[in-house]
């Protein structure tokens, strides 16, 4: 068992709470940095996607998990980032400039989408963002003068300060650096006043307003930051797949992104990364399992979607805190060994909340 004795406020401000965390994260960092030496070519591709989806997942996590605003249109921000990157690269802009532009443009679109969020809540916000996602997909398809319509856009490998990042390892390090940066930036945000304001809005808008949180401003800010991260993810995604077209940014993708957040664990940064890893690995597990399934089931169309659906429902019923919640329980089991009790995580009935004023 570990006891942490706190003797300074700074201990609560640190990114890492104790030496154990530094050790394990350090180990993870070494393993990830050494990935090109231990991972096969196939695994490298998986790692690329996990990194990219983590960035997008972190963006959506900020919005859904920390600010409590749902979005079923995040594929649109992915598209804005991807197309901005494709078009700017085609126009000859360097990557170090086009990536921030992709983020900024996505953020700008995010602000526009955030405007209805100031009035809408829950299911209505979900519908509004869903409609927005469909509209963006439609615009991309129709505006073929700019986007190439259904024939899509091709991208060249990234060129960064004269270096061509065309190898698996080069691109991997870029994605790794940006994913790490995204994690750190969000962790920073969440341990300062803006992050706390987001959490306040998530848990009780009325209290937040009564404590001086400008709801309109902070909700818009959450949408902008979330969209910006998703835009960065989109730009990287475009480079990874080298060809983008409207079919890659459909409603199903938006739902897949929400799945990352829910499977990973709403309200935790770890959750976004866990969820991203899970959603990339699951299809591979399904295709491995196909060999052992009867031909009728294995060959059925929509097998993957069905499994995804079942997994999602299972998580919502049995582990609402997602993979990260499960991980926490396992960790606490070890930390408390042998004192773990069965009812430890039974959810308590929450006390009556006052009548919601808004």
């Amino acid at each position: 068992m570990r006891f942490i004795f706190k003797t300074a406020y700074d201990q609560d401000l640190r990114l890492f709470r104790h030496g154990g965390q530094v050790f394990w994260y350090g180990l993870l960092a070494v393993a990830l940095l050494a990935a090109p030496w231990w991972a096969s070519e196939y695994m490298m591709t998986q790692l690329h996607f996990i990194g990219i989806y983590s960035i997008v997942g972190l963006g959506l996590m900020l919005l859904v998990g920390f600010t409590g605003q749902i979005s079923l249109g995040h594929a649109a921000f992915l598209a804005v980032g991807a197309y901005t990157e494709a078009l700017m690269q085609a126009a000859g802009w360097p990557f170090w400039l086009s990536l921030p532009c992709a983020a900024l443009l996505s953020a700008a679109v995010g602000i526009v989408v955030g405007l209805p969020a100031l009035r809408l809540k829950g299911i209505y916000l979900a519908i509004a963002t869903l409609a927005f996602g469909v509209i963006v997909e439609e615009i991309i398809t129709r505006w073929d003068g700019l986007t190439g319509g259904n024939s899509g856009k091709h991208l060249k490998p990234i060129e960064l300060f004269g270096m061509k990042l065309d190898g698996d390892a080069d691109f991997y390090y870029l994605v790794l650096a940006l994913t790490t940066l995204a994690c750190i930036v969000l962790a920073n945000l969440l341990r300062s006043s803006t992050g706390r304001a987001f959490v306040a809005i998530r848990d009780s808008e009325i209290s937040a307003a009564c404590l001086g949180v400008n709801l309109a401003m902070y909700k818009t800010m959450a949408f902008a930051l979330s969209a910006a991260l998703t835009g960065v993810g989109g730009a990287l995604y475009a480079h990874k797949v080298t060809f983008i077209s409207p079919e890659q940014f459909t409603l199903l993708v938006s739902i897949e992104l929400v799945t990352i957040v829910i499977l990973g664990g709403v309200g935790s940064l770890h959750g976004a990364v866990f969820g991203a890893a899970f959603i990339i690995v699951l299809p591979q597990l399904i295709s491995l399992a196909k060999d052992y399934l009867p031909a009728g089931v294995a060959g059925a169309a929509g097998l993957q979607a069905t499994v995804f659906g079942i997994v999602l429902i299972g998580f919502i019923i049995f582990e609402p805190l997602g993979l990260y919640g499960r991980w926490l329980k396992i960790r606490i089991w070890f930390e408390l060994f042998p004192f773990y009790r069965k009812g430890m995580f039974r959810r308590q009935k929450t006390y009556m909340k006052s009548e919601r004023l808004r």
Binding site: S192, R196, V199, R202, S204, C210, G212, M221, S354, L357
Partner: protein
């Protein structure tokens, strides 16, 4: 200049006049209590002061500033804090985080600084934490600092909500039924704290309360409401003996 005044305040919801032409002043440093039977419009007045409902008529003036036309978060920035009758805490955050959110109006850092967690942010966070620790000491919450609010008992939550309001360093504190749901011991403690807040911290308190023993003990002046109208104002003893108040609570003597 009056410290805080409500002038001819009124609101109607459809045909129901919830608050009808109510006026009162609160002087700096006093504990002013609003009493009245259920549905008298007490909490509605609080929601009008917090600008959660737009008033149909009248105005609210705090330290010479008219609140009309402002947004709820601007009320907090002027230095008015409140608690809620049925507790509105941030459930999925620790007690410490709840209190820190109370420091929101004292934030000093910009978004870009926070994203990079610059030394300025670290410095500001340390200062916020120190301010919050004072509140924790004041209300004896040390034991709960890192606990999630979601699992705490009702009495403790009530105190945390009081702490969160104090963390904003208000000039005027609105308490909506501070003793509701508390047992006699906890109510007694609450009374001590209200006295300490008034005398020790020098914060003016405006409260809505049902428990007459608590009202008598802490209030300087009392306003009685019935069906949205003010029926009596004065010291606790005066108001309690006022015939209109007795009638409002117990009904009149005449046989039906």
């Amino acid at each position: 200049m009056k410290f805080f005044s409500v002038e001819n305040l009124g609101i109607r919801f459809g045909g129901v006049v919830a608050v009808d032409n109510v006026s009162f002043d609160v002087q700096r440093g006093e504990v002013y209590t609003i009493i009245g039977p259920n549905g008298a419009g007490k909490t509605t007045i609080f929601n009008l002061i917090g600008l959660i409902y737009p008033a149909s008529s009248g105005r609210i003036v705090f330290q010479g500033r008219d609140l009309t036309g402002r947004k709820p978060h601007q009320v907090a920035e002027l230095g008015i804090a409140r608690t809620f009758q049925n507790i509105e805490l941030f459930e999925h955050a620790t007690v410490l985080q709840n209190l820190l959110i109370g420091r929101h109006r004292h934030r000093s850092t910009a978004l870009w600084q926070e994203l990079a967690f610059t030394p300025a942010v670290r410095h500001a966070e340390r200062a916020q934490r120190e301010a919050v620790e004072k509140v924790i000491d004041f209300l004896d919450l040390q034991h709960y600092r890192d606990t999630m609010v979601a699992g705490l008992p009702y009495g403790v939550r009530k105190v945390i909500e009081l702490g969160r309001a104090l963390a904003t360093e208000p000039r005027l504190l609105l308490l909506d039924e501070p003793s509701s749901g508390l047992n006699p011991e906890e109510t007694n403690e609450m009374a001590f704290w209200i006295e300490d807040i008034q005398k020790g911290l020098g914060i003016t308190v405006l409260m809505v309360e049902h428990d007459m023993s608590l009202v008598q003990r802490v209030s300087d002046r009392v306003l009685a409401l019935n069906e949205g109208r003010a029926i009596a104002e004065g010291t606790p003893a005066e108001v309690q003996a006022h015939p209109a108040v007795i009638e409002a609570y117990l009904g009149s003597k005449e046989p039906a």
